[in-house]
Symmetry: C2
Subunit: 366 residues, 2 copies
Amino acid sequence: MTQNSEPNLRIPGPVPLPEEVLQISAKQMINHRGPEYADMLERMSANLRTVLMTKNDVYFITSSGTGAMETAVFNTVSPGDKVLAIIIGFFGIRFAEIAEAVGADVTKLEFPLGQAADIDVLRDALRSEPDYKAVILTHNESSSAVSNPLEEICKTVHDESDALILVDAVSSAGGMPIAVDAWGIDALATASQKSWVAPPGIAMISFSQKAWQAYETCTTPRYYYDIQQYEDFLQLGQPPFTPCESAMFALEVGLQSMVDEGIENVFSRHHEIAEHTRNGAEKLGLEILPERRYASDTLTAIRLPEGLDGKAFVSKVTNDHNVVLGGGQGELTGKIFRIGHMGWVEKDHIDEALAAAEATIKEMTA
Amino acid sequence: MTQNSEPNLRIPGPVPLPEEVLQISAKQMINHRGPEYADMLERMSANLRTVLMTKNDVYFITSSGTGAMETAVFNTVSPGDKVLAIIIGFFGIRFAEIAEAVGADVTKLEFPLGQAADIDVLRDALRSEPDYKAVILTHNESSSAVSNPLEEICKTVHDESDALILVDAVSSAGGMPIAVDAWGIDALATASQKSWVAPPGIAMISFSQKAWQAYETCTTPRYYYDIQQYEDFLQLGQPPFTPCESAMFALEVGLQSMVDEGIENVFSRHHEIAEHTRNGAEKLGLEILPERRYASDTLTAIRLPEGLDGKAFVSKVTNDHNVVLGGGQGELTGKIFRIGHMGWVEKDHIDEALAAAEATIKEMTA
């Protein structure tokens, strides 16, 4: 890859898209209240349910993934409700902020950056407060590339509590297995620009019967994200508001190709490229931020050598090698770099990114 | 145009896009936290200010136009605040619903479908209640193709009240002149899939200093649409949340081409094609729904002959002529059809749509 070609975009979303997908996103606009849209919406809903392993309602919302997180919270949590927020990084803080915006009484269960949630600590927290309306958590924390043990967390919550489970799976769903029904997840939020191989613009959400029960008594002000509107219009084969058709066209193809490939194959492909990335980094003598067992399959966070200016590093890698890495966020700013490997990605993309990182570290520490 | 070609999409948005714009929307994804995005955002903000004739802050939000309407209300109106909602159709009702969702005390000033707001009635309403926090209204009511006399309305509100003026200009801005600063509009909402010749997915909003003052004391729960987040990230040249890049790429070109053409020319082009549509319809013996002086320059609503099934009519026009018309909404369902003429549209598109309508009416009334 040379300076004249497209950059090797290795941030954790928006993911780069194959030319075929870009061309599909360039299809002419259609009537979003006509039969062609209705057919597309029906196929997409069925395929999304397959990938998320759920019979729950699913909806497509024109917004970023944060909009789906807001939809999950604003439709089920009322001012004053007790919420337990499991926080392992930047996006866990965001989810807690959304619950605080509602006026919920939010208890924050924070774990050190680079670590997953501890099940024993969670169990104690649930035992000490029986009245949580909801437990909110990030499945895959993009800021530290840590995946929470979601199945175990869900089991613990169900064992100890009647709380709803609301999951930010923005950067994991579609790339890592999540059994929404088997694990008992009440609302799951994700977004098109991650493992789904589509442009940003469409958030997706699953919503359980228990979540609908909470909806009935929810008093939080909402309009665009009022999930009843999505349900009412779905009955007509329509979105309530004009959708981002370009992203929907691409996402339709992404969803269909995942179902055609077989979701187990999609997930193992993601695991394999993640292992390739982690092994490659370690071969260069670099340290992966999280413990292996909690390392994400959709992106990898790698520690920079002590004292190296991480912001300058990321810029230099882009300028010298045409590879766009993710930097650190929050407390990790300047201390790590991140390589996204979700969606459409080949080993060559990873090898090139690692080689660029290696060469740049050598130059900067020479 | 034959059945094998693309349909002549004449709904009032999403507008059809020229092939060049579609190809631009198919550009490869970029880092939304990198310099390329920052440059684009800066150019787009400057051009949007030019088109809206404002020095106010402007923001781009990934959502439908309704999201920008929610942003206007949820950042300035608190529960219990008195709001005057000027309603001339379906979208006026929606704006009032958004204020009701906040828990505002909403007074509805409703006018008959097909008519614009009456200034004398508005003046009386403002005089009888001095404490309105905001007046909310639709500039261009897509359901009836009526344009409110926005300049006169703003002048009346400013003469009689200290209320904020929040305007839904989703289907007019970019196609009809709106002098945000000269008319004293505090928040104006619009969306990419209308006159801006871009795919749906990006809402736009202008926000005045007076609106920012209201923000300071606003207690309405909000997160994704919290306008402070857009301002904070704009200082970094970034969006707060991952934006729909495909729509942004196209919208950038749309905005630039409007500024290059000269906004007066853009507006007179829209007026001319609107006159062409109205004259053409009347030549066929059809009646335009609104009075000429309030007829919209971005779409036209035409009455169907008494007793003709409007839903069947719209389907038949699509099936027989490959022309997609808008039907009626709300009370007007089945009674009118609508022809969109915003953005990229030529007289041939209109003539073909009118000819298809004429032939179908003849057949259905034969």
